[in-house]
């Protein structure tokens, strides 16, 4: 089971994170709301939403990533045919079963057509809720894209303010940029720790922490991550003979924990991935002085990680992306793990894979769904991948 079962602060932190992960009823969010007068929370779907703005409007940002394998789908299937990915049907299931009642607003980023369409379904299903579709800037020209996105942010800030009764002024935005810069630093430290010593930071634990970060106030997340890093530093841990892999394609509908564990158990260390990529989309901190909205918009337009959901203006970009990520993570290869029926991940895959193979990077690819319960096929593929490292010493 998890390496942390040793009695350390670490085990407690992981258990805390797991409890947040398993909290599909958002009890935690309800408690947070109950604790302060007039508190409100706003949900957002993957991949990216400007959490700084939500917070500046006096609301708790809550990332909604579906029901995973914990929620049995009954009403959700009334809304989706068998050939639509699993995430939206579990999100609807959560909503229809009242589990999302704590949210006063829902934001739907332009991740793909399914999530775009979900925004319309929300408009019809919950007419009294604030629902907004976030059309992320896609064009090449930073000026035009930046001013477009800044306008969107202004509208969002104003309208969320009307919901919460808190008119977020520049100061609030700046303050929340400061907090989320802290969040980004904490997350970067966590990722670096795993990249350097993956035997100390099982990806299951890292994942539970960043998932928890999606539903708790940023300050809490920062504290927990720092405590975790402090805890693991002291622990004895020994490196195993495993291959280092980058997992690509799981940025929206999330892989079940079982899949993450299966990959690491069958002889791989995950040293980089794009789980919840939106939470660390910016490659650098947002400048804290100057006009905050301009800074926020500008950072998205100029300094966003490359991801399938944003247009790639550079014709060479797709072909080169995997090499850059593998080198940065000192990985032996790539596991393309995409949700079934996921347009962004699956349409990108041939481009990314060709790029990787052009640089002799070994790749494997498979599809999953958030409620997958059988891992035999994944085990066999990840295992074969690890075998070849075991038998051939890397490449």
């Amino acid at each position: 089971m998890n390496v942390a079962s040793a009695d350390s602060g670490r085990a407690a932190i992981v258990d805390w994170a797991r409890s947040k992960y398993e909290d599909v009823d958002l009890r935690g969010v309800r408690e947070w709301i109950a604790e302060g007068k007039g508190r409100r929370a706003a949900g957002h779907l993957p991949v990216y939403a400007p959490r700084e703005i939500i917070r500046a409007a006096g609301m708790l940002p809550v990332g909604i990533y579906g029901g995973g394998d914990q929620v049995e789908i009954i009403r959700g299937d009334a809304f989706y045919q068998s050939y639509i990915c699993h995430l939206p049907r579990s999100v609807i299931e959560l909503a229809q079963s009242g589990r999302l009642d704590a949210l006063s607003a829902m934001l739907f980023p332009s991740t793909c057509d399914v999530i775009r369409n979900l925004s319309g379904m929300w408009q019809l299903l919950y007419p009294d809720l604030y629902v907004r579709y976030l059309d992320l800037p896609q064009i090449r020209d930073p000026e035009a894209a930046g001013s477009f996105w800044k306008r969107e942010l202004e509208t969002l800030l104003r309208e969320l303010g009307e919901v919460s009764g808190v008119a977020g002024e520049a100061e609030e935005v700046r303050a929340s940029i400061r907090v989320y810069n802290e969040v980004r630093r904490a997350t970067r430290a966590l990722y670096e720790a795993r990249r350097e010593e993956p035997w100390r930071v099982p990806t299951e634990e890292l994942y539970l922490l960043i998932r928890a970060g999606e539903v708790v106030p940023p300050e809490v997340y920062i504290e927990k991550v720092r405590a975790y890093l402090a805890a693991i530093a002291g622990e004895p841990a020994r490196m195993k003979d495993r291959s280092r892999v980058v997992v690509v394609g799981a940025f929206c509908e999330q892989p079940p924990l079982g899949l993450i564990k299966t990959i690491e158990r069958s002889g791989c260390y995950i040293v980089d991935e794009d789980f919840l990529i939106g939470s660390r989309l910016f490659t650098r901190d947002v400048p804290e002085d100057g006009d905050p909205l301009t800074n926020l918009a500008d950072t998205l337009v100029r300094h966003a990680e490359k991801t399938s959901v944003l247009y790639e203006p550079d014709p060479k970009g797709k072909g080169d992306l995997m090499r850059r990520r593998v080198e940065a993570a000192r990985a032996d290869g790539i596991i393309f793990a995409a949700p079934s029926f996921c347009d962004p991940a699956l349409l990108d895959r041939p481009m990314l894979r060709n790029g990787a193979e052009a640089h002799d990077i070994p790749c494997i690819a498979f599809k999953y769904s958030e409620n997958a319960g059988q891992f035999q096929q994944f085990r066999e593929q990840a295992g074969t991948f690890a075998d070849s490292i075991k038998l051939w010493g890397g490449n």
């Binding site: 789908i73 009954i74 009403r75 299937d77 009334a78 045919q81 068998s82 997958a372 319960g373 059988q374």
Partner: protein, 425 residues
């Protein structure tokens, strides 16, 4: 007397229902359609006519000799049918031995096959004598099949005439038996049935009376998966959706939602107070979670379909089954068995998996209104019903759940009602 017929050509079973002039159900017939549709329709109709005959002679015989005698007459009749088919099957299998079995095993094979059939016949006789015999499948393939497998495993000898060889012979011949029309009809079997119960005069008279009533079929309507294969004009073909709706309405007039789980499709239907369909959903291009799913499992565990439910009912633990694909479910079953999970828990999990699929179709069709009627072969399965009851309650609240003992005939009943309307028109 005039009568109308409804035929439901399902993917696994074919059903026929006969109504009399007043629209009363006169007879029902069912057969395995895993062979030939046209034949299946013929057999189901014959079966329905046989039960119709019994319905007619019930009154006569009961009056003269009492209900008990009538029941044993019916059992004797069934026994006579079964023995005829057994004889045919044994004949075919013995015929195959020279082709399929190499010397020196042939003699041994003949003996084994002979003793298997003797045992089956003994069991059948016992069934006849048993005052209240255990439930069993309607179909020769299943009834004879599971007995044959069981006996083959018992007497199969690993380094002689083994299980595989005996099963091979059976597989080779059963399909032919299924594909032959029954050459013996009502009259022949009723004759030998009378013999078997000592041919009491009183009963014979009653039978004579009933046998001579003419039954003329003035209209037949066909429905079900294979309906397109029926040689009927368009107006005598109806969609199984409409037939199930109307049939369920006839069985339970307050029905608003109908769930039908058949061999390879599942239908969720909403009907109005006239039994007219207002909306429906069916499973798309894959038969995951349909009746055949249970069929595979039964085969996999080498037990009769009708034994599954009772087995699952013994479950104490909930096991989550992931495969909805019928074929993979078999593999998952094996995998979990080897992991030491309990048979009954796994089977219960499989039932729940089917019902979960059905729940999503129900949701798509507009939910579960009151009253809720469950039809199709799977409605006879106690474990499936239990799972359904529970999930409906959890998600839609209190609902009256109707299940008719004749639920498998719902489609055919609906078809016969349409036949009645056609005849009237």
């Amino acid at each position: 007397m005039k009568c109308v017929v409804g035929i439901d050509l399902g993917s696994t079973t074919t059903k026929a229902v006969i109504l009399d002039e007043e629209g009363r159900i006169l007879g029902r017939g069912i057969t395995n359609s895993r062979s030939n549709y046209d034949l299946a329709a013929k057999v189901a109709r014959e079966e329905a006519l046989i039960t119709a005959r019994f319905a007619l002679l019930r009154h006569e015989v009961e009056k003269r000799a009492g209900a008990e005698v009538l029941r044993s007459l019916l059992k004797a009749f069934r026994l006579s049918q079964t023995l005829a088919q057994l004889a045919r099957l044994e004949e075919l299998i013995l015929g195959q031995i020279p082709r399929l079995v190499a010397e020196p095993l042939r003699a041994a094979a003949r003996t084994s096959v002979g003793s298997i059939f003797d045992s089956i016949r003994t069991e059948e006789e016992a069934w006849f004598k048993d005052p209240d015999p255990p439930a069993r499948s309607d179909f020769f393939r299943d009834a004879a099949g599971s007995a044959y497998m069981r006996l083959a495993e018992e007497i199969g000898d690993p380094n002689g005439v083994n299980f595989d060889l005996l099963v091979g012979l059976y597989d080779r011949c059963i399909i032919q038996v299924e594909n032959e029309p029954l050459e013996l009809g009502f009259r022949d079997h009723i004759g030998s049935a009378l013999e078997r119960i000592g041919n009491p005069d009183a009963v014979r008279e009653g039978v004579e009376q009933a046998v001579h009533v003419p039954l003329d079929e003035i209209c037949t309507v066909g429905t079900g998966y294979g309906r397109a294969r029926l040689p009927f004009p368009k107006e005598q073909i109806r969609s199984e959706i409409l037939c199930h709706g109307l049939g369920a309405h006839r069985l339970f007039p307050d029905t608003r939602t109908v769930l039908d789980i058949g061999g390879q499709d599942t239908k969720a239907i909403q009907v109005d107070d006239e039994g007219i369909v207002t909306s429906f959903q069916m499973n798309d291009r894959c038969a995951a979670g349909c009746g055949r799913y249970l069929g595979y499992i039964a085969d996999e565990m080498n037990i009769g379909l009708h034994e599954l439910g009772p087995l699952a009912d013994r479950s104490k633990r909930r096991v989550k089954i992931n495969s909805t694909c019928t074929v993979f479910a078999g593999a998952e079953l094996r995998e979990r068995l080897s992991l030491g999970e309990k048979r009954e828990d796994i089977i219960a999990g499989l039932h729940r998996a089917i019902i979960l699929r059905a729940m999503s179709l129900l949701a798509r069709s507009g939910g579960v209104q009151n009253q809720f009627t469950f039809t199709g072969g799977v409605a006879r399965n106690s474990a499936a019903v239990k799972a359904l009851r529970r999930l409906v309650e959890e998600n839609y609240g209190e609902r009256t759940l109707n299940i008719s003992a004749d639920s498998i005939y719902t489609g055919a009943l609906g078809a016969s009602l349409f036949a009645q309307r056609e005849a009237a028109a």
